[in-house]
Amino acid sequence: MLNDFELFMPTDFNEACALKANGAKPVAGGTDVYVNMHGGKKEADQVVDIKNLAELKGTSYTAGQGLVLGALTSHRQIEEWDVIKKNYYAMFQGCSQVGSVQIRYRATLGGNIMNGAPSADSIGPMLVHDAVCVVKGPNGERKIPLDKFYTGFKKFDIQPDELLARIEIPDTPANAGSAYYKYMRRGAMDLALMGVSAYVELDENDVMSHVRIALTTAGPTPMRSYSAEAVLEGQKYSDEIIIAAAEAVASEGKPRSSWRSSAEFRVRLLHDVTIMVLHEAVKRAKAEDKAQPIKQVLYKGQQGLEERPKVQG
């Protein structure tokens, strides 16, 4: 059994805020909080189940405006929605690789943001899609861009009496493409050893704009790589410019060495995966049908490629 706690399941939003302000731990899907509790961690004496709050519900898309995703929107809803595959492919890639099917039915986008793990798979894709967090409390709503929402490791721009209510993501133009790559040591049920997300818009001359790149498990929080974005912004798509961006990413990412892997390995992956993801985003921007996977190939500038043995047969 989980450690002893008092459970509240309010339907009134302000009541939930008051409970949180009073120290209660908000829980939505429970796929992080209850795991921690099973591990013996005492999260709180009081738990507030926020699944019954109407203010946190709803999953909608309006053409020309974009997505409004209630914080309770599950990863599975993102994964199984054709709108996402068509317009927000990186989000499909991120959300469909979280945990397992069972986890994704329960785990919410709001929970993924508020758990604050550097390896969170939905965050990088939402960062590159320019997501905005809407937090709400007794005194009304505040809108904070997702990349400003993290203030440190597991720290957020949110008041004790506020809850993350929803996430708003702008619509994508027809010339946009996005991609996310999650590096795992096995085919499923794994944390991102590292990950790269990218979003790009491409004009008829292959000039890139609105470029956004985000890194997963490369620092204390999921993070944008502004220096790499600057390398690409306004430039014409080419192998060379993508390699230059990958180098910027590799020098900006600050992965740690741990028993999980060495920093050296992670930096190398950051470099090579950035090349892969940027090419994929560009290819998707050009594609007729953006809802299809793009076949992985090897690209110029990837380090593994240069070391490819010449000997064959």
Binding site: R185, V273, R308
Partner: protein, 799 residues
């Protein structure tokens, strides 16, 4: 369930279909059997798909107490004091015990392990106290209240540290009771030593044209059984009658151990077996059983249930030891191997447990299934402050196979030979002299190697190539020979019910390998009785006759022989009963091959076995009940410790080979195994789908061992003791095309020729995958698992 019958689906194993999986090569078998050799629906299928099968943790008794262990956070420390007062004072706590309550140490080979730590702790997670309480929550809370004062000792984190013998895990081996099969070295961390010597290796090296030296390390693995260890005990403190309900693999050896620990003779110890949610050697050791018994003894005999959670399962049960091997081979220009010298060092963890047996089995297998005139093998079991190594599907032979098969590939490269050709040149045949001087018989290494290679299309593939996506591709092959534990004995009781149906009482444990289906097959085939009429009774040491253990791939071989013997007796008894009814002499009645009890001269006097219940011959007559026994002491030529030379070290050698195709992404370093070709000499496929299940499951397990799984320790702390960070293969990793050949090279002493297949499927898997990766990357990877970082930062071979 009455009006329809489940039938095996042959679709997914038939040739020419989507998955072309099975080839059976029949050799010495008659092919006339009607039950054996035909896939049967498993007897335990219905209860397992309906949730009615009872596993360890499904056992509950009204008023039972819950046990929990307080565990050491330190890997190596002296216990200065333990205070359990606060824990005892917690309402709901019934008892708290410490090592001092039951100080008798135990161990199958050497009694070096206390059930609860006494004077010091030797691994992180070792029990320092145990609590029985009214609820699990209270027991866990009480465990937190146990106060232990430790004096920290230097941690022996790995093999290299242990081999310095500066910090000793066990200061004085001589104070432990030690069996004749365990060879600790006083004043060192060596818990066992194995030595084998055939011919003269130094002379062999002198004759060689080329000397090849290599090393290989297999990392520490966890069985990762989905069912964690659990036991429920009721121990009467007054009569000393002990009973445990447990999903253990080895009821009789646990019975003997429990009797010893608690000073009770065997007949008072009762082990009642539940279904096992995964064994693989992990449920061979006594883990929860002795502690649950100890708690029950202190609670007036109330039932105490002790179940480990996943974290305890990782840090404080058992694992497969790390091993570091060194191999030196002398070879002629034409590829003939003239000498092999092998040294091996096991990191066995904090207590010896079954490691001497692992050391022994791997020792006999370390040379591989090759005829080599001069062999010297020395392997050592070293103790460290890690969790306890034990049996793991293959008993050390999987590790030995990765060693010799890695070496064979290096030799092939240096001689510019095809790896398959080099193996075929040196492999054992009937009549070869084996590593113990034994004259080898019933040996199909050659056939298995060729079949495994053919199953991946070996001949048409280069050693390495690059596919159209830029992946580095390679092929690899590996073979092995593994003995089964000898001598050992098995017995069974076969009894006919008054309606003519049959019960088999046998302690061979069903743990998914299908023995409760194969055992009835033997009886059904022998008697020609319908398979539906034969069932296996639950295992209980108070009722089931002795069987040594369900390990070492021995059950079908040994229990099959016992059942066949009992069935012959059943036939005689039935003929006798028919003779009474027909008022004739026993000799006038025969049991025919069709299952008829037949009067020799009067054709009308005939009872088919399937009608025997209604025939009336058993009515108020002597009950029909028979005993079957099978032991191998008589054929066993005990290998002496001075060099392990023996004319018959085992009753059965298991032989097989697997080949792999892999592709390696040069950018991500991730490995994809696309194809495995397997070929195993199973003697006789009793239940063909059952054989395939063993091989296919092994292949995916072996994939994990080759590229994903390892227990990671830092200074005695297990870092990845959970099911996300310890990476077993998932469904998403299972897309491997597997084609298996079952070579039926009948064993003269096996029932219907059978040999074992429980472990063999796993033995060559990691080895052939590793070899294929080495070829794909043109690199000698020297350890398992081969992880992406090893691949990306590799040093290519350049000889």
């Amino acid at each position: 369930m009455s009006d329809y019958k489940l039938t095996p689906c042959e679709k997914y194993q038939a040739e020419g279909r989507e998955w072309d999986r099975l080839v059976v090569k029949r050799k010495d078998t008659t092919g006339e059997e009607t039950v054996i050799g035909h896939t049967q629906v498993r007897k335990d299928g219905v209860e397992k798909v309906t949730g009615t099968a009872v596993y360890g943790a499904d056992i509950n008794f009204p008023g039972q107490l819950y046990g929990v262990c307080a565990r050491s956070p330190h890997a190596h420390a002296r216990i200065l004091s333990i205070n359990t007062d606060k824990a005892k004072a917690l309402p709901g706590v019934v008892t708290v015990i410490t090592g001092a309550d039951y100080p008798e140490p135990y161990g199958q080979f050497i009694a070096d392990q206390p059930i609860i730590a006494l004077d010091k702790v030797r691994y992180q997670g070792e029990p320092v106290a145990a609590i029985a309480a009214e609820t699990e929550e209270i027991a866990r809370a009480a465990a937190e209240l146990v106060e232990v004062e430790y004096e920290l000792l230097p941690v022996v984190n790995d093999l290299e540290e242990s081999m310095k013998n500066e910090t000793l895990i066990h200061e004085d081996w001589s104070k432990y009771e030690c069996s004749s099969a365990c060879f600790p070295v006083q004043g060192t961390n060596i818990g066992d030593h194995f030595h084998l010597c055939k011919g003269d290796v130094e002379k062999g090296f002198e004759e060689a044209d080329l000397i090849v030296e290599s090393e290989f390390r297999c990392g520490q693995l966890q069985h990762t059984l989905i069912e964690t260890h659990t036991a429920t005990a009721a121990a009467n403190p007054y009569t000393k009658e002990l009973q445990v309900w447990t999903p253990n693999q080895s009821p009789f050896s646990i019975r003997a151990l429990m009797g010893k620990i608690y000073g009770v003779s065997n007949e008072k110890v009762r082990l009642t077996m539940t279904h096992i949610g995964g064994g693989f050697g992990g449920k061979y050791e006594a883990k929860c059983e002795p502690i649950a018994l100890a708690l029950s003894l202190k609670c007036g005999g109330r039932h105490v249930k002790l179940t480990y959670d996943r974290h305890e399962e990782f840090s404080a049960t058992v694992c497969r030891s790390t091993v570091q091997y060194y191999m030196k081979t002398g070879v002629k220009k034409d590829g003939t191997i003239v000498a092999n010298q092998i040294k091996g060092y096991w990191d066995a963890g904090a207590y010896v447990t079954t490691n001497p047996r692992v050391d022994y089995n791997a020792g006999f297998a370390a040379n591989g299934p090759y005829e080599v005139p001069n062999v010297k093998i020395d392997t050592y079991v070293y103790m460290t402050n890690r969790t306890l190594g034990t049996a793991y599907r293959g008993f050390g032979v999987t590790e030995a196979s990765t060693l010799h098969e890695h070496q064979m590939d290096i030799i092939a490269r240096k001689l510019d030979m095809d790896p398959l050709e080099l193996r075929l040149k040196n492999c054992l045949h009937d009549g070869s002299i084996g590593v113990t001087g034994e004259i080898i018989s019933t040996c199909a290494v050659d056939e298995c190697l060729r079949a495994a290679a053919a199953n991946i299309g070996w001949d048409k593939l280069p050693k390495r190539w690059v596919d159209e996506e830029g992946n580095l591709c390679g092929k690899g092959i590996a073979c092995f020979n593994k003995l089964t534990g000898t001598p050992s004995t098995t017995s069974c009781i076969v009894k006919m019910n008054e309606n003519g149906s049959i019960y088999i009482l046998s302690a061979s444990r069903e743990m998914g390998q299908g023995v409760t289906t194969t055992m009835p097959q033997f009886a059904a085939e022998s008697l020609k009785i319908d398979l539906d009429k034969v069932s296996v009774s639950p295992v209980d040491t108070h009722q089931t006759p002795y069987d040594k253990t369900t390990t070492s791939s021995r059950s079908t071989f040994h229990s099959g022989n016992a059942i066949l013997q009992a069935c012959e007796d059943i036939k005689k008894q039935l003929c006798h009963l028919a003779a009474i009814k027909w008022k004739c002499a026993d000799e006038d009645v025969v049991y025919t091959a069709e299952g008829n009890i037949q009067h020799k001269t009067d054709a009308d006097k005939c009872i088919n076995i399937n009608n025997v219940g209604k025939s009336g011959i058993m009515h108020e007559q002597d009950p029909v009940i028979a005993i079957g026994r099978y032991g191998t002491s008589d054929i066993f030529d005990a290998p002496p410790v001075d060099g392990r030379q023996s004319k018959r070290p085992t009753v059965m050698w298991m032989i097989g080979a697997q080949a792999a195709i892999v592709k390696v992404n040069p950018v991500t370093g991730r490995v994809k195994v696309t194809k495995i070709g397997a070929a195993h000499d199973i003697g006789k496929a009793i239940n063909p789908t059952g054989c395939l299940q063993q091989i296919e499951g092994s292949v995916v397990m072996g994939l994990g061992h080759a590229i994903m799984e390892e227990m990671i320790y830092e200074d005695g702390n297990l870092r990845n003791g959970n099911m996300v960070d310890y990476k077993v293969p998932t469904f998403m990793d299972s897309d491997i095309e597997i084609k298996s050949t079952l070579v039926e090279n009948g064993h003269p002493e096996g029932p219907f020729g059978v040999k074992g297949i429980g472990e063999p499927g796993l033995v060559p898997t990691a080895a052939c995958i590793a070899n294929a990766i080495c070829h794909a990357c043109n690199t000698d990877f020297k350890s398992l698992p081969i992880k992406p970082e090893h691949i990306l930062f590799r040093e290519e071979a350049n000889d």
